[in-house]
Every structure is written in structure tokens, then in C-alpha cells.
């Protein structure tokens, strides 16, 4: 009998503790809304903030708007493996609390925006990487990733000595295949004898290929063993593993999304980063927020290509800037694409 009483005491004590926990919570103040300034919100893609790539670029845009436009920004992150219903709820909540615009980062937000946008006709909804849902208050921000990748292909074909270059894609989705298509075409158009080794880290719905550097490292190692001496990784955070391996082997990297030569996390390997195919999500986000604040919200498809520097090849590595003939070839290809003399494929 003594044992029962002991267990009951423990039980009552812990229950009392739990109750006092919930009771105490009541009197804290609300930390949500504050100033009367404009509010803008972004809802992140898988990985959330801190992925060194896609989401971080969107955050940089919001941060810039907070600083320059005095906008109050909110962010919301998804959970692993969530469904459309969760995204609908997230966007609804962001729109309901007065954020305008509400920006969904990534194509996965398309079905949710299709459902939520009509309910908030006065709010502008932005979606990055999707042009399939349309509406008066929807701005579709899309990029010509294949054009930037084409230039990377030109540079790679010019720089390679072993006549072998590698492509590492994070997850085999149509979006990443655009990168591959442009890169391969750029290489082949420049020098048809150069061999391209394409490789993907994971298959959807396993999105680990965007987040696991060890996968990128192993893939790069394999391509180095096959004599590749320029490797282009379009794999988000997983790409940093590839950059590490390639750098240690003394070969060339081509980075993606942001200018990876200037990224702090990759500083030890920066000398090996020839260039990066940048995708200016930061300015795209900023421009959308600004357009709403100016009272002329963007709608419909807003395409960022080489002509607007929405995609580009970074020139921050002095070693790359010194390769005059490579730069000349890249600049010529760029002009040809802008003039429409070269059409870059969007699927391999």
C-alpha cells in the first residue's frame, strides 16, 4: 500500500506542476503586431531560413525592405512532409494579420495560393518559381535559370583541361533539370568534345538532396574520380559538401543561387569557386514589396532573365575575371541569348 501513495504523490505533484505551468502562461503580453507601418510576410520553402541559398535569398529581400522601406516583416516556416492544407492555413493566417504582400517561396505554394488568393482580393500574393496559378492579385516571380546555367556551361567548357565537367543536381525536380539543360547546352555549344557528367543526389519526395552536404561531397568525389575538373552544383546546402571536396582536389567549382565566392560559410574554399550562377531572389522579393507599398502592386508573370540581371554569372573571383578569353566567350553568349540568337532549352 505504501507504494501506491508514493506514486499518487508523484502523480499529483507533477499534475499540479503542469497545471501551474498552463496557468502562469496567461498573463504574458502579446508580442505580435506593433507599429502601424506596412507589413509584408514570406512563407519559406522546405529547409527554411539558414539554408545558405534559396530561402536565405528571399529573407535577404525582406530584410532589405525592412531597412529601406520601413516595412514590418514576418516569416513562417513549413514543417517536414506537410500538405497543402497546412500551407493554406499558413498563408491565410499571414494574410489575415494584415500582411501585404504575402510571398510563398517555392513552387509548392501554388495550390495553396490558388485557394487563398481569391479570399483576400486586396492582398497581393507573390509566388516564386511558379507561373501556373494566375489571378489579379497574384504575382508570379519566375527566373530563367537555364540562361544563367548556359553561361556557366560556356565558362566550364572553356576552362576544363580534362574535357570532362560535372553537374550535381540536388533533387531531381523539373526546376533543377532546367539548370542541367542550360549547363549541358552551354558546354556542348562551346566545345562538343567536352563530356558532361550529370548526377542527382535524391529523388522527390526525399528532399535531402538540398540539405545534406555529405551527399554532395560523395557525388563530387565520384565525378572527380572520373576526371571531371569543373563541377557545377545546383544543390542548395548539399552543394557546400561538393564545393569542399572539389576545393580539396584543387579543381574548379561553379556555385549557385547566391554569389558563393562571397559567402562566409564557404570562405576556406573560395579560391576554388570560379563563379556562381546567381538568381536574384533578393531583389525580386524587394521589388514586389516596394510595388505594393507604392500602390502599384505587380501582378501576373514577372520574369527575371539575363537581360534584367535576374540571373547572371558572378565575377567576384579575380582569377575568373582575369581569364579574358573565357569572359569574352561568356559575354558573347550572354548577348546572343538576350538578342534571341540562342534559345536555351528548359529540359534536358
Amino acid at each position: 500500500m505504501r507504494r501506491i501513495t508514493r506514486i499518487t504523490t508523484v502523480g499529483i505533484a507533477s499534475a499540479a506542476l503542469a497545471l501551474s505551468v498552463t496557468a502562469c502562461g496567461g498573463n504574458s503580453s502579446d508580442s505580435g503586431s506593433g507599429s502601424d507601418g506596412d507589413k509584408a510576410a514570406i512563407a519559406y520553402d522546405i529547409g527554411g531560413r539558414g539554408d545558405q541559398s534559396f530561402n536565405d535569398a528571399a529573407y535577404a529581400g525582406l530584410e532589405k525592405a525592412e531597412k529601406d522601406l520601413d516595412v514590418q516583416g514576418s516569416e513562417a516556416e513549413p514543417s517536414d512532409g506537410e500538405g497543402d492544407a497546412d500551407k493554406v492555413q499558413r498563408l491565410t493566417e499571414l494574410a489575415r494579420s494584415g500582411n501585404n504582400p504575402v510571398i510563398g517561396v517555392g513552387f509548392a505554394y501554388a495550390p495553396a495560393i490558388k485557394k487563398v488568393a481569391p479570399k483576400f482580393p486586396k492582398t497581393t500574393f507573390g509566388i516564386i518559381d511558379d507561373a501556373s496559378v494566375t489571378g489579379e492579385n497574384i504575382a508570379n516571380i519566375v527566373f530563367n535559370e537555364e540562361q544563367g546555367s548556359y553561361l556557366a556551361g560556356v565558362a566550364a567548357a572553356k576552362v576544363t583541361k580534362s574535357k570532362t565537367v560535372g553537374f550535381i543536381g540536388g533533387v531531381e525536380t523539373p526546376l533543377i533539370k532546367k539548370f542541367e539543360a542550360g549547363f549541358v547546352q552551354g558546354v556542348k555549344d562551346t566545345d562538343a568534345s567536352v563530356n558532361v557528367l550529370p548526377q542527382y543526389l535524391t529523388q522527390p519526395p526525399d528532399f535531402g538532396g538540398f540539405s545534406k552536404p555529405d551527399l554532395g561531397k560523395a557525388a563530387a568525389q565520384g565525378q572527380l574520380d572520373k576526371k571531371a575538373d569543373v563541377i557545377y552544383s545546383a544543390a542548395g546546402l548539399a552543394g557546400s559538401g561538393a564545393i569542399e571536396a572539389v576545393s580539396k582536389a584543387g579543381k574548379w567549382n561553379i556555385g549557385v543561387d547566391s554569389d558563393q565566392y562571397q559567402q562566409k560559410g564557404l570562405a576556406p574554399y573560395k579560391a576554388s569557386i570560379l563563379t556562381s550562377v546567381t538568381k536574384d531572389i533578393e531583389d525580386a522579393v524587394f521589388n514586389l514589396i516596394k510595388s505594393v507599398q507604392d500602390g502599384k502592386p505587380q501582378t501576373g508573370e514577372i520574369r527575371y532573365g539575363l537581360d534584367k540581371n535576374g540571373v547572371a554569372l558572378s565575377m567576384s573571383n579575380p582569377a575568373f575575371a582575369d581569364m579574358k578569353d573565357v569572359i569574352a566567350a561568356v559575354d558573347k553568349a550572354k548577348q546572343d541569348i538576350i538578342d534571341g540568337k540562342i534559345t536555351v532549352k528548359t529540359a534536358p
Binding site: A18, V21, T22, E75, E93, F107, S132, Q203
Partner: protein
């Protein structure tokens, strides 16, 4: 029939309650250790759960979780650990979406076809593991984990536009095409802002009743539980253990196939790259927490869905919403520990009681002897 056993009921509740309290306390410790307000996140979670749209979300998610947990529980009752529920669920949802999008039938028939395809595919996929176990003695734990990866690769291959999938113009997603409206399962509308409760959630509840009936009120259920308790003993009393293993694996897979139906028939109407994943693994947690009991599983499914959905808004208030993930992990650990503690306590108490009764009986006889 045994009478209503109060002791057993109390002990049955003691396990989960102890686990929850411990998990809550530990989460608070984690919050304190990371220098955050340890109470505010709970308040935000409860506040967010007071909105109608979040409530609908919780119920819908719980329906999906419930089916996945039932699939796991069928295996557990048989001493089989079906870790492959996730793969079975994804493959089944994809195939069902594919078949559903390629035909057009009158309403109920269309839905029935999709559901049957999902069950068959799920059963087929888990059946491979069952077949390997009964014929070659391969552990179902190993084979179902491997089948998960194979399912991932298979789905990724089939959804390519050059095979069976399609890429909507302007989109970067891949889908299996939209199911015609006749194949949509009507939901229960809860008002303009709140959305609707998937109709299939009620089917899930029906599956729970069926699960209870089959396990507790049929010969088959008895055989299943007997084989789960002791394979050799069941075999000795004339149960074909191998057949039972295969059958329960098939049932487990068929129910796993159903787990994708609330989302597919009620919401997305297509299988795309961003179809929810990981449902099968959450199902394991829920089946454990609910002690394989249909009512217990329902409550646990609601609890886990509550943690999932109410934590979603935490990061807008400056808290990490991974708090809920930590909590779920802690619940699993404390569940295992507390169930074992409660079980041991129960056994000891039973022994004590029997001892007391024996002693009392002895005393009675001595009293009688003394009276004589």
C-alpha cells in the same frame, strides 16, 4: 465475461498520463535551458488551437494519422513491426491518383475504384514483406524499410512526364493529373474561413470501429492476437501462423493505403511532388502511445495532430516550432519507459493481491479451527 475492471482501467490510463506529464516537464526544462520563456509557447499553442480553421486542420490531420496508426497497430497486435507504412501509403496514394485521373465514372463508383486501388497497392507492397517473411524468414523490419526506399524510387520514376506524370504549364511541380470531380469525396463544410472536414475522416472513424470488432469479436481476431502473444502456442492449438503473418501484413498494407485517401479525395485531388510524407512514421508513434487500442489511438492521433498544427504559428512569435517536435520525441521515449513502469507495477500489485487473498483465506480457516 469479465466484469468492468476498475484497476485495469486506472493502470491503462496511468501510462499515457505519466508519459505526457513527463514529456511536458522535460520540454519545459529544454525551454528553460535554451533561455526562453518556458510557458509562453504553450499559451500560443492553445490560443492558436482556438481558431476554427486550425481545429478543422487538426481533425483532418488526425484522420490521416488515425488510419496510418491503425495500419501499424494491426501489425503490432501480431508482433509484426511494419515500418513500411510510409512507403505503402505513398505508393498507394500515387497509384490511386493515377487510376483516378485516367477514368471518369459516376460519383460513388469512381471513389470506390480509387479507394480499392489504394488498398490493393498498399496490400501488395506490404505483402512482399509478408511473403519474404513467411517463405524466407526475412525480418519484416528490414524488408519494409528497404521497400520504403524502393517505393520512393518507383514513385519518382513513374511521376516523370515521359512515363505517367505530367507537368502543368508554368509550374515546376509534377503531378499525376487532376481527378475528375466525380472522384472527389464530399466534405463537411465548417464555414467560409474554417474550410471543411474531409469526408474520409468519418470513414477513418468507421475503420476504427471495424478494427475493434474484428480483433475482439471474431475468430480471426482471436487467432491474430493469440499468434501475436505466442506463435508456438497458437500453432499448437491449430492456428496456421504463417497464414496469419501474411494476412495481417496484407491488412496492415491495405489500411496504410487508405491513409492517403483523406488528403487525396478531400483536398489535393492529385499526387504531386509535395504530397505529405512521413505519415507512416508518425503512425508508429501514435500506435505506441495509443497502446493499439482503437480509442487510445484516436486520442493520440488528436494529440499529435494538435501538437503539429498548433505549433505552426510559433515561429511568428519568435519561438522555434521545433518545440513540438522535441515534445513528440520526448513523448515516445517517456511512453516506452512509463508503460514498462506501469506494467511492472501492475504485476507486482497483482501478486500482492493474490498473496493477501491467500493469507486472508488462511486466516479464515484458522479462525474456523479456533471456533471449533
Amino acid at each position: 465475461m469479465k466484469k468492468f475492471d476498475k484497476d485495469r482501467l486506472i493502470l491503462g490510463f496511468a501510462g499515457p498520463v505519466l508519459a505526457l506529464v513527463v514529456a511536458l516537464a522535460l520540454t519545459t526544462v529544454v525551454l528553460l535551458a535554451s533561455g526562453q520563456n518556458p510557458f509562453e509557447p504553450y499559451r500560443i499553442m492553445f490560443e492558436s488551437a482556438s481558431y476554427a480553421d486550425v481545429q478543422v486542420l487538426i481533425i483532418n490531420q488526425a484522420g490521416t494519422y488515425y488510419l496510418a496508426a491503425l495500419a501499424v497497430a494491426v501489425g503490432f497486435r501480431m508482433n509484426l513491426f511494419n515500418i513500411g507504412v510510409d512507403g505503402q501509403y505513398r505508393l498507394a496514394a500515387m497509384m490511386a491518383a493515377l487510376v483516378g485521373a485516367s477514368v471518369e465514372l459516376p460519383g460513388p463508383l469512381h471513389i470506390a475504384l480509387i479507394v480499392i486501388v489504394a488498398m490493393l497497392v498498399g496490400a501488395f507492397w506490404s505483402g512482399i514483406a509478408g511473403f519474404l517473411k513467411t517463405t524466407r524468414g526475412v525480418s519484416e523490419v528490414v524488408s519494409t524499410i528497404m521497400l520504403n526506399s524502393i517505393a520512393t524510387a518507383l514513385v519518382a520514376w513513374m511521376i516523370l512526364p515521359k512515363n505517367f506524370g505530367e507537368q502543368p504549364p508554368g509550374s515546376n511541380n509534377l503531378t499525376t493529373g487532376e481527378i475528375a470531380e466525380s472522384g472527389w469525396f464530399p466534405g463537411l463544410p465548417m464555414g467560409d474561413m474554417a474550410g471543411e472536414i474531409y469526408g474520409f475522416t468519418f470513414v477513418a472513424a468507421g475503420c476504427g470501429v471495424l478494427y475493434w470488432f474484428v480483433l475482439n469479436r471474431t475468430r480471426f481476431g482471436f487467432d491474430l492476437r493469440a499468434t501475436g502473444a505466442s506463435e508456438t502456442a497458437a500453432q499448437a492449438s491449430g492456428v496456421d501462423a504463417k497464414k496469419m503473418i501474411l494476412t495481417s501484413m496484407l491488412i496492415s498494407g491495405a489500411v496504410a493505403g487508405l491513409a492517403g485517401m483523406p488528403t487525396l479525395l478531400g483536398d489535393t485531388h492529385t499526387y504531386s511532388l509535395d504530397f505529405p510524407t512521413g505519415i507512416g512514421f508518425t503512425g508508429i508513434t501514435i500506435a505506441l502511445l495509443g497502446r493499439n487500442n482503437p480509442l487510445g489511438i484516436a486520442l493520440s492521433a488528436l494529440l499529435i495532430a494538435f501538437l503539429d498544427k498548433s505549433s505552426a504559428s510559433l515561429d511568428q512569435y519568435g519561438y522555434e516550432k521545433e518545440i513540438a517536435t522535441i515534445m513528440q520525441g520526448l513523448i515516445v521515449i517517456s511512453v516506452v519507459v512509463s508503460y514498462e513502469l506501469v506494467r511492472r507495477y501492475g504485476i507486482r500489485r497483482q501478486q500482492q493481491k493474490v498473496g493477501e487473498e491467500l493469507a486472508a483465506g488462511h486466516a479464515l480457516t484458522t479462525e474456523k479451527e479456533a471456533a471449533l
